[in-house]
Symmetry: C2
Subunit: 304 residues, 2 copies
C-alpha cells in the first residue's frame, strides 16, 4: 500500500522512514514538508497539493508537531485517506474527537499511535500485572531535552506540551498495563520564566502511583516505572523495552526504540484491513488533567 | 423518591433545596456537610455514615467543590445509589470516566448535570441554529466573583478552575446549541500572581468563534453569546435565559436561573426511570484543552 509521510523532521527520519522501508506492507510514495525530503521520493510542500496530485496514495502518516497536525489530518480524511497520527494525536482533545467522528463518517481508518506501547516489555508487563494488586507505583521519566529535541522551540510553546511530550509516552504505557484505571489527584508543574510549556512535572495518581518527569537530566537518561504488588515487584525500564520481575531481567534489553515503529506500521495495515479506527485518548486525558489541576511554579529560564 | 444532598453551601441552599422541595419527584431525606444543614432534614457530616445509616435513600446529589467530589461520588456508586453531579462533574476528566464506568457496572444512573443547558432560551436557540451556517460567534461571560462566589477561595486553588467555573456554563451551552463540533485553536489565560486558577481567559475556537471570560466585572453582569449566520443573527443573553433573533426578544427574559434546577431534578428522575446515564464531558474537554493549550499571563494579585 502506498503511503505519504507529512512532516519530515527528526522523528520521521529516525523512525518512520526506516519503519516504512523495512516492513512488507508499505511503499513510501510521497512526502510533504516545508523543507525536508527523502531521497528518491516525490516531495510536496503542501498537503492539499499532494492529496490532489496523488489519488493513488491511500494512507497518510502525520509526524508534524501537534498544533498544525489537525488541519493536515482533516484534509486527508476529507479526501478519503486513512490517517496515522504521531503522538500526541493533537494539540487538544476536542480536535481528536472531531477527527475520530470524521474518520467514521468517511469510512476510513484513523490510528492515534502511542509508540511506547509497542516497546518490548509492555505486553508481558500487562499480562503479569493483570491478576495482581498494585500497592505502589513510581514512574521516573528524566531526559535531556537538548539531546532528544535539539533546538525544537515548538515543544516549549503553548500547546507544545513541554516535558509532557516524552511524559505522555509514560502515561501511554501506564494506561495500557495497569489492571485498573487511574486518575490524577495532584500535580506540580515547573515552567521556565521565558517559556509557556513545562520543563518538569511531578504527578500523583490514584492507586498510590507517582510520576516524575524532567527535561533537564544531563546524566544517565531514565525512562523507568516500578510497581510493588501483592505478588512481587515489577520494573519496566528503558521506555518499556526492558522488563524485570523481582529484580531479574526477563525480557528486552537496553536498546532504545527497537521495534516500536515497525509494529505501529504493521498495526496500521491491520486496522485498514479490518476497516477499524484505534483512537484511545486516555494517555492525553491524564496530561490535560495535569494542566487543569496542576499547581504551577515558575523556574529558571531555559535556552537550547 | 428519597434523595440526599451532599455539600450544603451557597449553590445547595440557593438552588438545590428549593428545586427538590418544589418538584413532584423528590423528598430531601438527608444532608451531608461539614457544617451546613437544612431545617427538618437529618444531617450527617460523613457520606459513609449517611450511606450506611440510610439504605432507604436511593439517590445522592453532590454539590461539593470539584476536588473532593470524586470520593463522595465513588462511595455513593459503590453503595448502589444513583448519583447526580453539579458542574463541573469532577476536578479531572479521568475521574469522571471512572465514575461513568462504575455507574454502568453497578447498574445505576449517573447524571453529569450542566444547569445552563436548561436555561429558557437554549432549546429554541439550538433548533434555530440547526439548519443555519454560522459565520461568526462571540461569547461574553463577565461577572463579579465577589458577588457570585463570595470568599470561596477554593475556586482560585489548583483544580478550582477559576473563571472557568462560570465559563464552563458557556461551553456547556455552546456544545449543546451549535450545529457543528468546535475545538480550541488558541487561548490566553490570566492568573493572579497570588493564585493558581485563572481570573480571566480569552479563547479562540474553530468556526470563527471567540469567548471572553472575566471574573472582575463590577458593572452590569454579562452572560451573552451572539452568532452571525447565513440566515440572520441570534443572541442568547442572561446565561441562556433570553433569546433574541435579529435583535428582537422572542423567548425568556432577564430573570436569572429560572427553571434550571427544577428541570435537572426532573431529568434525573427520568434517567432513573429509564435506567440510563447522561455523562457528556464535551464542555469540560474544551476547558481542559484551554488549560493545555493556553498562553499564561500573570496578572494583579486578587483578594476577596
Amino acid at each position: 500500500m502506498k503511503i505519504a509521510l507529512v512532516g519530515i523532521g527528526k522523528i520521521a527520519v529516525d523512525q518512520h522512514v526506516p519503519a516504512i522501508a523495512g516492513g512488507p506492507d508499505w511503499e513510501l510514495a510521497a512526502t510533504v514538508s516545508r523543507s525536508g525530503k527523502v531521497d528518491g521520493v516525490e516531495a510536496f510542500t503542501s498537503i492539499e497539493d499532494m492529496l490532489s496530485a496523488r489519488p493513488d496514495i491511500g494512507t497518510v502518516s502525520l509526524c508534524l508537531p501537534p498544533v498544525p497536525r489537525f488541519q493536515a489530518a482533516q484534509a486527508a480524511l476529507l479526501a478519503g485517506r486513512h490517517v496515522m497520527l504521531e503522538k500526541p494525536p493533537g494539540a487538544t482533545l476536542a480536535e481528536v474527537h472531531i477527527l475520530h467522528d470524521l474518520a467514521r463518517a468517511q469510512g476510513v481508518s484513523l490510528f492515534a499511535t502511542w509508540h511506547s506501547r509497542c516497546a518490548h516489555g509492555v505486553a508481558s508487563a500487562k499480562a503479569w500485572l493483570a491478576d495482581r494488586t498494585i500497592r505502589e507505583g513510581r514512574v521516573i521519566w528524566r531526559e535531556d531535552v537538548r539531546k532528544w529535541h535539539p533546538g525544537q522551540d515548538w515543544i516549549f510553546e503553548a500547546g507544545g506540551m513541554g516535558v509532557f511530550d516524552p511524559g505522555i509516552n509514560a502515561t501511554s504505557i501506564l494506561t495500557e498495563i495497569l489492571p485498573m484505571p487511574i486518575y490524577l489527584t495532584g500535580a506540580e508543574i515547573d515552567i521556565p520564566g521565558n517559556r509557556q510549556a513545562p520543563i518538569a512535572a511531578r504527578l500523583q495518581f490514584s492507586g498510590n502511583i507517582t510520576a516524575d518527569f524532567d527535561f533537564r537530566e544531563q546524566g544517565p537518561q531514565t525512562w523507568d516505572m516500578e510497581f510493588v504488588t501483592d505478588g512481587g515487584h515489577l520494573a519496566l525500564r528503558n521506555g518499556g523495552n526492558k522488563l524485570e520481575i523481582d529484580g531479574k531481567a526477563v525480557e528486552g534489553d537496553d536498546k532504545i526504540l527497537g521495534a516500536e515503529y515497525p509494529t505501529l506500521y504493521a498495526q496500521m495495515a491491520q486496522l485498514i484491513g479490518e476497516k477499524r479506527c484505534d483512537v484511545d485518548l486516555s494517555p492525553m486525558v491524564l496530561v490535560a488533567d495535569a494542566f487543569t489541576l496542576g499547581r504551577r511554579n515558575t523556574v529558571e529560564d531555559f535556552e537550547f
